[in-house]
Symmetry: C2
Subunit: 343 residues, 2 copies
């Protein structure tokens, strides 16, 4: 074993070590460390110098134990691979950091009930003051899971608004805007490529799509189901390309819209000349699709901010019962939509 900078056989530098070197009590070191007042400048400098020399860094486990709070938020999700999730997590981490909270990531490998339960058990033992769940909360219920007492929860992508606070994009209004935009352009009706069945976001977008059509008295075409991936959108697009009545498509996310675009292109159906298409998310790439995609912009940063805000309110025991916060969306018009071709 090398002697150099391997971990000391004993423990790391503690306040007592610093105190000894600086010639003060460890309480004074604590005061300097936490920035508490009542330490005269000269003493403070000595302590700081001693900290520097020894390479002291506070032991947050001890601090957490003493204070009874971890200043950490757990985030439980299935995957970071979707744009929405990774951007929401990034926003959560940013706002949490602003508030002095760290983020612990708990990805659930498989979206089964067991998987969720396992992660939650781990989270229960983990050093977190609260949890943000980015998925359909009914997967939790199905495992008849009792949340550990003392741990607060905020949920994204779920309709559990009566039981936990929920923060989410206003899926329904976004979908309505997309469909209405296509109807306003003069299309007879709008076809739809939805997301996976277990996604509540996909479910709500589809519901709003159907309702908007029905309210205008339009024909409701059969739904094509994808799994959020561009490949699944391509497969749906293949079917849609063969549908002569189809002049307008609402894809439940931009990636599936990309696949649809390719399928239409390969079948010689021009966009937006023959077929118009609207996506959902406004991922950065969508403005470089061929053609640039008209889509519904989600404000992931705002979703993240509201999550953290809501959770911290709970952690601090401020009044905020269950309820749902909806973050508005906005239709971004680009070049993938136009009036239908003359018959």
């Amino acid at each position: 074993m090398t002697a150099g900078r391997t971990r000391r056989p004993g423990r790391a530098v503690s306040m007592a070590d610093v105190a000894r070197l600086a010639g003060v009590s460890s309480q004074t070191v604590s005061r300097v460390s936490t920035g508490h007042p009542g330490v005269v400048e000269s003493t403070r400098m000595q302590v700081l110098a001693a900290m520097q020399e020894l390479g002291y860094r506070p032991n947050s486990a001890a601090r957490a134990l003493k204070l009874g709070e971890f200043r950490t938020i757990g985030v439980i999700l299935f995957t970071l691979a979707t744009t929405g999730n990774s951007r929401t997590v990034e926003a959560i981490a940013g706002y949490a950091a602003q508030e002095g909270y760290a983020i612990t990531l708990i990805p659930v490998a498989v979206p089964t009930q067991d998987g969720v339960l396992g992660a939650f058990t781990r989270l229960g033992e983990l050093a977190v003051d609260g949890i943000i769940v980015i998925m359909e909360v009914h997967l939790l219920d199905a495992a008849n899971l009792t949340l550990p007492p003392g741990v607060q929860v905020v949920v994204v992508d779920s309709d559990a608004g009566d039981r936990y606070p929920v923060v989410d994009t206003d899926q329904a209004d976004g979908a309505r805007q997309a469909v209405q935009h296509l109807l306003d352009l003069g299309h007879e009706t709008v076809w739809h490529v939805t997301g996976p069945a277990e996604s509540f976001a996909a479910e709500r977008r589809t519901q709003a799509w159907r309702r908007t059509l029905l309210e205008s008295g339009r024909f409701v075409p059969p739904v094509h189901r994808g799994d959020w991936s561009a490949d699944s959108g391509y497969r749906a697009g293949l079917a849609l390309a063969r549908e002569p009545r189809c002049t307008a498509i609402f894809a439940a996310n931009d990636q599936m819209a990309l696949g649809v675009l390719r399928a239409l292109h390969e079948h010689g159906r021009g966009v937006p000349g023959d077929v118009s298409i609207v996506g959902f998310d406004d991922i950065p790439d969508s403005s470089s699709f061929i053609p640039p995609l008209t889509t519904v912009r989600q404000d992931f940063a705002e979703v993240g901010r509201r999550c953290v805000q809501g959770l911290l309110r709970q952690i601090r025991n401020e009044p905020a019962g269950p309820g749902t916060v909806l973050v508005p969306t906005r239709l971004v018009r680009r070049d993938s939509t136009a009036p239908p071709p003359a018959p």
Copy 2:
């Protein structure tokens, strides 16, 4: 204020509470909790029942304090918005979980030296046994940062292999494969859209591109610089589309390739008829580009796995000095490359 399930005024359930209810000592509760042997089955059941009834969950701060380890890995990065980062982080989280480690995410808002320093200071105070840095480590050096002793580090996207262990995709070989593929198809030379200057990955891809051309005695065209985004690729593509000699392009990532694709399409330059293009990353969407993109596949999962492996080795004080692990890449041939047009 609701009375229901708000946090108790006192503290959470502790081992002492469980011990009292079960009629045993708290040490026995500890033994049950940690699965240590030497507890007779009947006692174990009683303790388990008491835990259940009180909703006991171990306090990991106390455990960490006692044990001197947090079983947590910190991940410091600029953003989750790039495919590479989010997929690497996801892989890291997965493998870490397998080893019983949690992941704490530390995003650095702005890639300045101050930003990095701030995050690292926070990390120093954070409950982590080791850190994975996903960015160019020289940004750390510039802030003349001394790593806190006792905290182990592994780095991604950096050439600091002489000072810290580095795990990375074999950028150079990937770029070489891309360029060689285009040369093999008969192209005179290969034009290049690079990434941002501060990215070491971009730098290495560009170096390998240049070296491969020079080794074949080809003309080295001027470099077009992007920032990884599709929009920046589009701008580069606009310039490239006006370049009549340009028949082959190597874009440093798939998103910029997407932008180039659109620029070429808008200028009536066919892909791969007139111009061939190769990307880098193999993001899931790239198989749905128009046309599906030939690209260099990175194995992000493997990068994540090696990071965790290397870091845990260090944490456990197993022999593993500084050094670089290169994860191989593979060229994925799709429809965006072909021989150059006849002159």
